[in-house]
Amino acid sequence: MPVSTIQNASLASGVPSAAKLPAGSVLQVVTGSTSTGVTTSGTTYIDTGLSATITPTSATSRILVLIGQNGISKGPGANGAGLKLQLLRNSTVLIKIQGYGGYTESSSYNWVGGVSSAYVDSPATTSATTYKTQFGNEQAVAASVTINNDASTSTITLLEIAA
C-alpha cells in the first residue's frame, strides 16, 4: 500500500504504534556508558560497569546489542595475563567477546585499545532486561588486565527491533 493512502485516523494518535510498524523497524534505543577504570588480576569474571537496561515493547522483539569496550590493556609483572570479556543478559552469559586480549609472551605492558561487538538477542520478555559486560584475567598470574584505562569511555547501545 502506498504510504500516501494511510490515514492518520487509522493510527493511534496519528503516530504509528510499535505494533503497527513493520518487521525490522527500530522501536527504541537505549544507551549506557562508563569511563571508570577497572583493573583486576583475578580470573573470576567481574562487572566492567558497562550496562544498559531495556524494557521490550513486545515479547517477540529482538534486541541488537552494540558494544564498544575501550581502554583495554594488560599490565606488567608476569607472562600469561590476558583479558577475557563476556556479554550477559541479566545473569545469563550470551557470548564470550574476547579471550586473551593483550596477551604477549612477555611481562611488559600491552595496550590493546578497544574491542567492539554486535549481538542480536531474543529475550522473549516485556520485562526490564539488563545487558552488561564482565571481564577477568584468563590466567592466574601476577599481572593485571584493565578496561577503561586512562578514563577511556566504553559504550553499550541497545536497539529493539520489531519482529
Binding site: 577504570g37 583493573t39 583486576t40 588480576s41 560497569g49 599490565g75 606488567p76 584493565t146
Partner: protein, 86 residues
C-alpha cells in the same frame, strides 16, 4: 608505571581496583597508602621512559651484527644515561 600497578605491587591482597578503590578476592575493600603508591610510581617512572626509548629488538640485533657489541652497548647506555634511576 600506572597507579594501579603500583597498588598491586605494594598490596599483595588486592585483586581488583575499581576507580581508586581496591578490593581483595572476597570483594572486601583494601585500604592502601596513597603516598607510598605515588612514591612507587615516581621511583619506577624511568623504566617506562627507557622502554619507550630503546631501539626495537630488530634494530638492536642489526646494530650488533653490523657494528659489534661495543656499539650496541653504547647505544643502550645512552638511553640509560638519558633516563637515570631516580
Amino acid at each position: 608505571m600506572r597507579t594501579n600497578d603500583a597498588i598491586f605491587a605494594l598490596n599483595p591482597s588486592v585483586v581488583t581496583i575499581r576507580g581508586d578503590i581496591a578490593y581483595d578476592a572476597e570483594g572486601n575493600e583494601v585500604q592502601y597508602d596513597k603516598a607510598a603508591v605515588q612514591a612507587y610510581v615516581d621511583a619506577n617512572a624511568y623504566k617506562a621512559k627507557r622502554a619507550a626509548a630503546y631501539p626495537s629488538f630488530a634494530d638492536q640485533f642489526d646494530t650488533i651484527f653490523h657494528e659489534g657489541i661495543d656499539a650496541w652497548k653504547a647505544q643502550i647506555q645512552a638511553v640509560k644515561d638519558r633516563f637515570p634511576k631516580e
